[in-house]
Symmetry: C2
Subunit: 147 residues, 2 copies
Amino acid sequence: MSQSLDLKSAGLKSTLPRLKVLSLFESGNECHLSAEDVYKKLLAGGEDIGLATVYRVLTQFEQAGLLIRHHFQGDKSVFELNQGKHHDHIVCLQCGVVEEFYDATIESRQKKAAADRGFAMHDHSLYIYADCTKLKCPNNPFKKSLP
Amino acid sequence: MSQSLDLKSAGLKSTLPRLKVLSLFESGNECHLSAEDVYKKLLAGGEDIGLATVYRVLTQFEQAGLLIRHHFQGDKSVFELNQGKHHDHIVCLQCGVVEEFYDATIESRQKKAAADRGFAMHDHSLYIYADCTKLKCPNNPFKKSLP
DNA sequence: AACAATAATGAGAATGATTATCATTCGCAA
DNA sequence: TTGCGAATGATAATCATTCTCATTATTGTT
Ligand SMILES: [Mn+2]
Ligand SMILES: [Mn+2]
Ligand SMILES: [Zn+2]
Ligand SMILES: [Zn+2]
């Protein structure tokens, strides 16, 4: 019952819907999911849950620091498990595959850019939109759900 | 009639609504405007235009390369005149003031991050969310329209 | 284990941004 | 000027997300 503890230490009651959503993110290697993705995946897995609850839980998990919200190009938010290691994202415009990367130089220069101009950086978002040149397209499980 | 030519060379007919929107971006130093901002500013200036037309024209201008669309944190798109010089943005979370910056090292490391992983970068977005530490808040004209 | 206080859920309505419809109007070339 | 295809704008529709509120579940306490 480790997830139950995860929720409690986040100040959230351990409820069935919350456990289902958390399990989905923890079990899967499909890391970047929209609310609709989560809802459909749970239904497809035989779990019952309401869409409004999915939206609520995702927002609560984000506020609790369990999930990170992203705004990739397009209208809907996507979420990933917060594993404590900050990274940025490369998104293939053809197939939607997402690859993560971290560049210490970029990170430090961002902070400096803000500081030099009298801003205290709270957060930042860096998304690289690219073409994976077909290296990864064929076997990307998200291919179908692209705009 | 230089704007008329701007439109023609972009493959767009020179119409009154398009000229009004283009003028607003070219004349103003308030660079980052949402569709609603554009609509209200034109109405406030005595110009008549439909909201649907504003949305259409903004998208057309974006596709023609006249404007650049941004997705700052929040739901609505904001647009700025494309003046040919790429830059990234720092957005104050308190007052909404936007400051532009350019860091050649960040730019080149982004391209390298993509290339190293087999991606051809098409585009990227980098937004720094910060606190302007009250240096700029008081006189930011956008202060009122924050979430 | 059953209870009560309280928070969580979920079906559906409401919202806000954006897009689609379609009858009317306009720009432009002949 | 005339005509035709493109553009406009009032309105309806759409899409993601949030809100409402009656019902249900969780948890600490008998
Ligand atoms: Mn980063
Ligand atoms: Mn940049
Ligand atoms: Zn791809
Ligand atoms: Zn400020």
